[in-house]
Structures are given as structure tokens and as C-alpha cells.
Amino acid sequence: MKQIQQGDQHALSDLYTHYGRPVYSLALRVLNHSGAAEEVTQEVFLRVWDQAEKWDPARGALITWLLTITRNRAIDHIRRNRRQPPVSETALDDMPLHASTPTPGGSAWTDGQLIRELMERLPEEQAQLIELAFFGGMTHSDLAETLDLPLGTVKTRLRLGLQKLRDWWQDANQNKT
């Protein structure tokens, strides 16, 4: 990142080589549109180029920072272009995989696979709320309005789903060590 701050384009190229796929994949998951996902991916890397000094390693991993920006930009894109994602029953695993090369190794990507498996164990209505909230950028009120559910029901289901997910996640990580 220091090299990027100094205007080293090779460093930006390396960064894209390492993280272009997860950034694009998250943007595509949120936007369900490859053209928009390309735009957001470009915005994210241009932002890194312009504001590399904003990343503080003490606050977390670089990839997490990149993906946080990606999700925020993608959700802004939805709101800016009024391109609301359809209320879909499609689970994460049903999204088509176009890549034939293996995904990057490392715990981050196995964590992602684990999350997907744990989400499948949740009751459908809880999993749907988590997906719409996270990948659709929806708040409690948005979810209640979109799904025509009482606000209290949305809050309870979302909380219970996330509590279960967190408990399973912590158990799975303890079993790993």
C-alpha cells in the first residue's frame, strides 16, 4: 500500500491481481449485473489509488477494507440508479460459478465457504433477511416494507438468525483450533 501511495502502478496491478476477483464477486452478488459490478470494481480500485493512506492496518485486514468499500459502493450504486435487487429466494449456493480456476487459498475464502454452509442451516426466513440486509443494503424498515412483515417480526428474525450464525461460527472456529 505504501507503494501505491507513492504512485507505483505496478503495485496497483498486483493488488488487482490478488483482490480483483473477490471485489468483483461481491459487487456482482450485490448488483446481479456484470456491467454494474465492473463499474463498482473500477471505482473501488480507483479509490484505493486515490486514498491508499486511509487504510489503517491496525483496524483490520486489507481485503476486509476493500470488501467493505465494495459493498458500500455497490449498495450506493443500487440506490443511485434505483436498481433494487429483486426479492429472491435464491440462496447463495445457487449463484452460478463462471470461474474455472481455483479460488485464492487462505482462511478468508474458507471462511466464506463456511458461512455459506452455515446459512443453509438457518430457517429460510432468517437466511433471507440476512442476505437481503447484507447484500441488498436493506435496513429493518426496508425489509419490513419489502417483505410486508411487521417491523418487530423483522427485528426478531434477523436478531435470532444472526445470533445462531454467530454461535455456529464461533463453534466451528473453536473446533478448528
Binding site: R21, R29, N72, H98, T139
Partner: protein
């Protein structure tokens, strides 16, 4: 101006129930403001947030991995690379002396066109890059200003000692999850426009006698002004705020008594 008359003790148990959704980014603006105000009084909330943040960080990786189009990387690098200098055009003299002037004039015109096109290509690339950056910053600022002005952001009132009369100032603050910092809006009214000099906002951290400068601002003919600045921690980490009139460009430390001052309470 709305302002709190005093701190209300939040219901920590109710706020704790909102933490999972807060970590996911799914709370409404008012809920977010309640949680962030409650962090000072309910220290257990921060631990909950950290625990759920590990989970939500992992959810970022749950999107199925899809390779981007091969040309996307080149497009990104082209957007940051400077445009190449245009190729020089060779001027060739014609055999017919009677037409020489016309051909030379045309060739010179072509050179000028190529050079100006190259110049405009550089400008266009720079403008495109700048446009992305400005659009992104504008969008981020719009979101933050919406949150600051919505009435649901955290708020603290500063007043002119010793009374409650004008001049007055209000601090509103909200958390910017993008920049991972706190964005603060100072709104003032009732200050006299300065003929020369700037108003300067000072913050005193907890358990410290020194003050830090938060920035300079001016007021209009109605005595109203504002200042937006960023902090690494909530404004409630500072016990006191005050505004002084300083020479143009500000001062390293206050040079006069504060015109507006107040204890910061979340």
C-alpha cells in the same frame, strides 16, 4: 435548534438486542444513533459489536467467487496511467511549388490538431479520474450530511457562558463506516462576522489540560456558520469544546477567552 436538555440513560439490554443488526448494517438511522450514543454508557456493547463484526467480516467473503472480465484490470490501470505523448507528424514538402504553401499549411494544421487532441486526451483522462473521485466523495458526503442533518445523529449543545442566549453552537456527529472515522458537524449562530481573522473550534480531550484545534470557520452576515471535520474517536471522548476568535489562519493555541463553550455529553 433541537438540543438535549441532559443525558438520558439508555436501556443497555434493548440496545444489545440491536447489535447483531447494527454489525450487519441493517439498523435504521435512529437506531444507529441510539447505539452509538449508548456506547459511552454500556461498555458491553463494544464487545458485542467486535464479536459480531468478526462474523460480518466473514460474510463479505461468502459471495460465490467469479472471475472478472479479462479487460477490466487493463481498464483500471489505464484510468490511472498518464496518457502517452502524441506521435510527432512529419511535414513533407510537395514537388509543386505553386501548391507548397497550401500543403504546408494543411500539414501544420494536422500537427496542431494532433497536439491539441493529445492535450485533450490527457485532460479527458484526468477529468474522468477526477469525476470518479468527485462522484464518490460527493456520494459519501451526501450520505454523511444526510445522517448529520437527519436529527437522529448524536448531538451536544455549546452556549455562550454564562447564559443560554446566543451565540450558540451545536455539535452533531455520526460514524462513517467507509472512512472508519467519526464525522462531526459544528453549526453556529449568533456570532459576529469578523472583519479580519477566523473563528477556531477547540476540543479538550478527557483527562488532559491541553486543547486541540478542530478547524477554522467563518460566519455569514446573519452570524451563522458551520464546520465539518473528522475524528478517530467519538466526540464524547472529549470533555469540552470552545470557540475563539483568532488571527487569519488560526493559532496553535487559543489566544483569547472562548466566545462559546460547553461540556460535551453524548
Amino acid at each position: 435548534m433541537n438540543h438535549k436538555t441532559g443525558p438520558e440513560q439508555p436501556d443497555c439490554a434493548s440496545l444489545r438486542d440491536l447489535i447483531p443488526a447494527y454489525a450487519l448494517g441493517a439498523v435504521d438511522a435512529e437506531e444507529r444513533a441510539q447505539i452509538e450514543a449508548g456506547l459511552t454508557y454500556c461498555p458491553e456493547l463494544a464487545e458485542e459489536i467486535a464479536a459480531y463484526k468478526e462474523l460480518t467480516d466473514a460474510i463479505h467473503f461468502a459471495a460465490p467467487q467469479v472471475a472478472p472480465p479479462p479487460e477490466l484490470g487493463a481498464r483500471i490501470l489505464n484510468a490511472v496511467a498518464p496518457a502517452p505523448a502524441p506521435e510527432p507528424v512529419r511535414i513533407v514538402e510537395r514537388q509543386r511549388p505553386a501548391l507548397r504553401f497550401g500543403w504546408v499549411a494543411a500539414a501544420v494544421a494536422l500537427v496542431l490538431l494532433a497536439v491539441s487532441n493529445g492535450y485533450w486526451l490527457v485532460q479527458l483522462n484526468e477529468l474522468r479520474s477526477e469525476h470518479f473521485q468527485i462522484s464518490e466523495r460527493a456520494e459519501n458526503q451526501r450520505r454523511l450530511l444526510d445522517a448529520l442533518g437527519s436529527g437522529s445523529a448524536n448531538e451536544a449543545l455549546l452556549t455562550a457562558a454564562p447564559s443560554n442566549q446566543v451565540p450558540q453552537a451545536v455539535l452533531n456527529w455520526t460514524f462513517d463506516p467507509d472512512g472508519l472515522e467519526w464525522v462531526v458537524l459544528l453549526s453556529v449562530e449568533g456570532l459576529e462576522p469578523l472583519a479580519a481573522g477566523d473563528y477556531q473550534l477547540w476540543l479538550m480531550p478527557d483527562e488532559s489540560d491541553s486543547v486541540i484545534s478542530a478547524g477554522l470557520f467563518s460566519v455569514n452576515e446573519l452570524g451563522r456558520g458551520s464546520l465539518v471535520f473528522a475524528l478517530d474517536e467519538p466526540v464524547t471522548a472529549y470533555q469540552w469544546a470552545g470557540i475563539t476568535a483568532e488571527p487569519p489562519g488560526g493559532s496553535p493555541a487559543p489566544t483569547s477567552d472562548p466566545l462559546v463553550t460547553g461540556i460535551i455529553q453524548g
